[in-house]
Symmetry: C2
Subunit: 248 residues, 2 copies
DNA sequence: TAGTGGTCTAGACCACGTG
DNA sequence: ACGTGGTCTAGACCACTAC
């Protein structure tokens, strides 16, 4: 044997996949917090007893999934939730003509409730598990455009209160991250069309019966664990949902 | 100098990016047709005078963009438009409960027209350029669900006729590919909500004023050149738009 | 058996960021 | 000057496919 290229294939999984798994596990365990640098590639190679090339291939995939960010000359960092990141990767509503803008959020209501059947299924909860139900109104350039209803499993958000939620000085995902150590890394969305009921119409400043875009989002953390449900109603009279993502 | 690692950096662009560009150009020029194998990585390395590793890195990106497909032991192939590929990568409507199904297409109308302002802008056409305007009704399990209006630049589809379009025995993107050598490699979509007008409602078998999901798609070929516009109206009473894509 | 892509290693040099 | 990631090369062996 010359190095040990191709050694130990009995494990079935490619080495770099195993390294990726170990890295993801350390991330999920909070060993490296968002915003801080991981050990250098050389160090990681020593730690896992693999060559730098193998570490790089593992990191390549985590970078492609936007879980890590590389900065030449500085290091490799855990992706954190800046306002910018939320805007670019999780907020898909844009003016029909112009470019992206930061929305302003107004808290409408905050309540405890029991999970309904849909929440139970999508959040892997026990029937009747306690959840938080939060409603927000989002404005773009002062105009109300989006009505959000957020469902959170109470178990994962201990001592969350309306006061905490209202007085946060950051985005919602930053709150999850900083206060609960929950890092939302991707989301899955399903869209449909609906008609505005009276109360939604009033909040959005439109006529009841107007067409609305309904977005059902599941937000996921490491290992694709769901941590938040969100149903958005969007007035698309002057805005659109942008299914960007480079790749089809 | 030992090999020529890092040689010739005057060109500013990384070597593998240059190789990627050359590969994409050959694809756009039709040197390799969809479905056929490219030369082996070793051959490509000789052709471009780079190491196999550099070729692999270029191909890696084209594979990530779903432009090429690798098959271990067989070779690297140009992605072609099977019915399956269209279904998985370009058709995003799924039953609210179940999994993906192949839609059946019914041609409603086929006409020549002059490009409107929107088409001119999105297809980079000259004002008043001739286009084809095609309308289709798509059914899922026999139920009409989607109403499509397709706009094609006539220049790129010479001698296209209703007969050709109607008598194709494949998907629409396969027709573009086989008859016109146009390979749609990705699409960009913008979604909004609308109300069904009388004629749409009739075709979809719903009441006028029902909410519909409107999808405006631009289909692109190599080098991000737009080749087709498509506006879809979707009855989302029992179906949803799935914004999949793995990565957020 | 031969050829292809897939994995893994090792090491050189470049470009960038910080002190 | 030093450490980091970025690029590029070279070569070994594995896994799969076709003949």
């Amino acid at each position: 044997m010359s190095g040990h290229p191709g050694a130990d294939t009995g494990g079935a999984l490619p080495l770099y996949q195993e390294v990726k798994r170990l890295l993801t596990q350390s991330l999920a365990d909070g060993e490296w917090q968002p915003g801080v640098a991981l050990p250098s590639e050389a160090k990681l190679g020593e730690r896992y007893r693999v060559s730098i090339g193998t570490v790089r291939k593992a990191i390549d995939e985590l970078v492609a999934e936007r879980i890590l960010v590389r900065h030449q000359g500085r290091g490799t960092f855990v992706a954190g939730h800046s306002a910018r990141r939320t805007l670019f990767h999780f907020f898909h509503i844009v003016p029909a003509d112009g470019g992206k803008e930061q929305p302003e959020t107004e808290l409408l209501s905050f309540a405890r409730a029991k999970a309904d059947a849909d929440s139970v299924a999508r959040l892997n909860l026990a029937p009747g598990a306690p959840v938080f139900r939060i409603r927000n109104l989002l404005r773009l350039r002062g105009t109300p455009v989006v009505l959000d209803e957020i469902t959170l499993p109470a178990e994962r958000f201990p001592r969350l209160s309306e006061k905490v939620f209202r007085e946060r000085d950051s985005t919602i995902y930053q709150l999850y991250q900083e206060r609960y150590g929950i890092n939302v890394v991707r989301s899955a969305e399903r869209l449909s069309a609906a008609l505005a009921d009276r109360s939604s119409a009033k909040l959005l400043g439109i006529a009841a019966g107007s067409p609305l875009l309904r977005i059902k989002r599941t937000a996921l953390t490491y290992h694709n664990v769901p941590v938040e449900l969100r149903t958005s109603l969007v007035n698309t009279a002057a805005h659109e949902y942008f299914s960007d993502l480079g790749k089809n």
